[in-house]
């Protein structure tokens, strides 16, 4: 590659080739990351649109905006789209795809063509899902419980099941690629203990994707077969057991929530050291906690079934194990906080998202302790308490981590700076809107408002109105970055190689990087997060 000249246009992965074919047939992990970025953003807005309709309906106790059946489809498809088509791919498929090779000093992922295949599988799944939604939708809840989904629902269960089945393979292939890449393609000197913790987090996530996703794949196959052929595997009138479905479903779907949160923890673990100008506190423990979460996460699935009809003894075991899995998450929160101690802190947009993440993830995690307590869970399971809990983790946690990461690495990805004050404003709007939307739901849940209710008793209205008000603020907070990221691609300040003065190999190449990532393959002989040796951030060059 030619060395970059300041005045001539430098060759980057963005301008190396133009034309739609060069994008649709690319095997460059960075371009594939952008393909994913477009697709998941599209689905995020679809899922978000459904959420807004749900919240609008819930402004009044009566069911007066949409019909009951429509409402049931709305919450089902909101869940399916957000979980399978936004959250599960989000950070791994966008930031992971872009950064994993860069962070370890490789030229690409181990299997570039499989990477492209995973995107196409995602798109095929997405098109099938869209078709399903446009031609009638599905109303089983994202959890597909039997026998309702197999023998009673009159909606397009098979199509939705198949769409999710295909999207699962996209997820599996991404995970496979990451594990092999991290094992085999690290640059000379990049030992396991020098890896950025973002990589450790993605490694743990990938293990879950590999081992967990096939289980929901086969479960959905069985549901589709049962529905199409009236087999009886989950139908009690034919000797089957509906609880078997729940066990198989949650065996994946619980670890799935760790697929959704671990990558954003990885993002936060990159941001906090950078904007505190010091290494992460307790590197080994943070790495170990990611792996522990992945392992223990497979052992707790039946905590979704405490009132489902499982035995008392099973409930006791799963409750105890659920408390075990909470420990590594707590450790991370303490380590992030300790990293700030005696640091030199700046309040950039990524750092604001990191603060928001830590606070909201903490609250979500603490409410998980409530749910793991058997006596409490009997009262609050299947109510808005659970809805609030998982939105604190997935939206307050995972989405804020995703947005923080997008801001942090935007200069690297696009070569441009986003407008910093708008960035901070959006972060604050998201944080405030989020809390107003979801905190009242904890109260609603304890009061007894069940979830998936189209209409509700009038005494729940005030809290529902507060929640809806919050959701409109949240929506504004999400729209802002869309607007200014697009704006920055044309008008943003040109980004230097390392605008934040961050550690990590990705910052040692240009912004945006050349197609093969590094002009010269790096050789690593320093520890991760060696901020004492990294100079303060450069100023961005102005001009277009």
């Amino acid at each position: 590659m030619a060395t970059a000249a300041i005045t001539a246009e430098r060759e980057t992965y963005l301008n190396q080739e133009y034309g739609i074919k060069s994008w649709l047939l690319t095997v460059d992990h960075k371009r594939i990351a952008l393909l994913y970025l477009l697709s998941i953003t599209f689905f995020f807005f679809i899922g978000g649109f459904f959420a807004l309709l749900i919240r609008l309906e819930l402004l009044t106790p009566a069911g007066d905006l949409v019909q009951a059946d429509t409402y049931n489809k709305l919450f089902t498809m909101h869940g399916q789209v957000m979980v399978f088509f936004f959250l599960i791919p989000s950070i791994p498929a966008v930031l992971g795809n872009f950064l994993v090779p860069l962070m370890i000093g490789a030229k690409d992922l181990a299997f570039p063509r499989i990477n492209l295949l995973s995107w196409y599988l995602y798109i095929i799944a997405g098109v099938l899902m869209l078709h399903c939604m446009l031609t009638g939708g599905v109303d089983t809840g994202w959890t597909f419980y039997t026998p309702f989904s197999t023998a009673f629902s009159n909606t397009k269960v098979i199509e939705a099941g198949l769409a999710i089945f295909i999207s699962g393979f996209s997820s599996i292939l991404t995970g496979l690629n990451f594990v092999v890449t991290i094992h085999r393609m690290r640059a000379p000197g990049m030992t396991w203990n020098r890896l950025p913790l973002f990589i450790w987090a993605h490694y743990a996530t990938s293990i879950i994707q590999l081992l967990g996703t096939p289980v929901i794949a086969v479960t959905l196959v069985l549901v589709v077969l049962e529905r199409a052929l009236h087999l009886g595997i989950f139908d009690p009138t034919r000797g089957g057991d509906p609880l078997l479905f729940q066990h198989l479903f949650w065996f994946y779907s619980h670890p799935a929530v760790y697929i959704m949160i671990l990558p954003s923890m990885g993002v936060v673990t990159e941001i906090v050291p950078c904007f505190s100008r010091k290494r992460i506190f307790g590197y080994k423990f943070v790495a170990l906690s990611s792996i522990s979460i992945a392992v223990f996460g497979f052992l707790v699935w039946a905590h979704h079934m405490f009132v489902a009809g499982i035995s008392l003894y099973a409930a006791l075991i799963f409750s105890a194990l659920s408390y075990l899995v909470a420990v590594p998450s707590a450790v991370k929160v303490f380590n992030w906080t300790a990293t700030m101690y005696k640091g030199s802190i700046t309040f950039s947009t990524p750092m604001l998202y990191a603060f928001g993440f830590i606070g909201l993830f903490l609250m979500g995690g603490l409410t998980g302790l409530f749910l793991a307590a058997l006596g409490i869970d009997v009262h609050v399971t299947d109510t808005y308490f659970v809805v609030a809990h998982f939105h604190y983790i997935m939206v307050g946690g995972a989405v804020m981590g995703y947005l923080g990461g997008m801001h942090f690495w935007w200069p690297k990805i696009s070569g441009r700076m986003y407008p910093e004050s708008l960035g901070r404003l959006a972060a604050v709007i998201v944080f405030l809107g989020f809390n107003l939307t979801f905190f009242p739901q904890f109260i609603l849940g304890y009061l007894g408002m069940p979830r998936r209710y189209w209409q509700y008793p009038p005494e729940f209205q005030v809290l529902n109105v507060l929640s809806t008000a919050g959701s409109t603020i949240l929506a504004v907070g999400y729209l802002l970055p869309m607007v200014y990221f697009l704006w920055s691609m044309r008008y943003g300040k040109i980004a230097p190689d390392n605008p934040w003065g961050a550690s990590g190999l990705e910052w040692m190449t240009s912004s945006p990087p050349p197609t093969f990532n590094f002009d010269h393959p790096p050789v690593v002989n320093w520890e991760a997060y060696d901020y004492e040796n990294i100079p303060a951030p450069q100023e961005a060059r102005s001009g277009g």
Partner: protein, 231 residues
Amino acid sequence: MADSPTAVEHHNPALKHHFVDMEQQREASSLGMWLFLATEIMFFGGMFCAYLIYRYWYFPDFAAASSSLDITLGTVNTAVLICSSLTVVMAVRAAQLGKRQQQVVYLALTLVLGLAFLGVKAIEWTSKFEEHHVPGPTFNFQGSIPGHPDQPVDQHHAQLFFSLYFAMTGMHALHMIIGVGIFAYLLYHAWKGAYTPEYHTPLENSGLYWHFVDIVWIYLFPLLYLIDRKK
């Protein structure tokens, strides 16, 4: 990894640009295949789990249903698959020794054995169809609990057995078909001389896949065919 690969590897046309050398490429491909097989274990595992639970609950009905399967054909298929795994190993060995002709022969044999397996499976399924043992509206299992001629088999439980039988052997057969396709592809490229002692990774990895599909059958056969057989 050395920064300057050997002259041979630098010019090996099979080396992909993002790998440093052939060894890295080979190890990455191999690890990838092993991980993929781990996902396959989890995939089949879900069905095995459902099967084991229902078999435990409805053992007598499952035993009755199982004895209606053709044990001869099942054994033949087991032998066929084990032989085909042998021919795969021989093909890989031939590649390691640089013997193109042998590779082609063994790959062709593997293909034939794989097709034979599928053929026998088709025969079995056809007879199940004729006996009305296919789950659905036409399902009708006539029979009694083994050892208790006065106790009829529960139709629902028998249908559960056959639902899982068809799901599991069907999924297995699908994997066999994919395997046959892969080996047809390998046969063509082996004939063109693509696989050498320095580079035969596709053969090795596809061999791993084939062995895995074989092992799944080795579990399926006794679980499905050999419940409570007293010969």
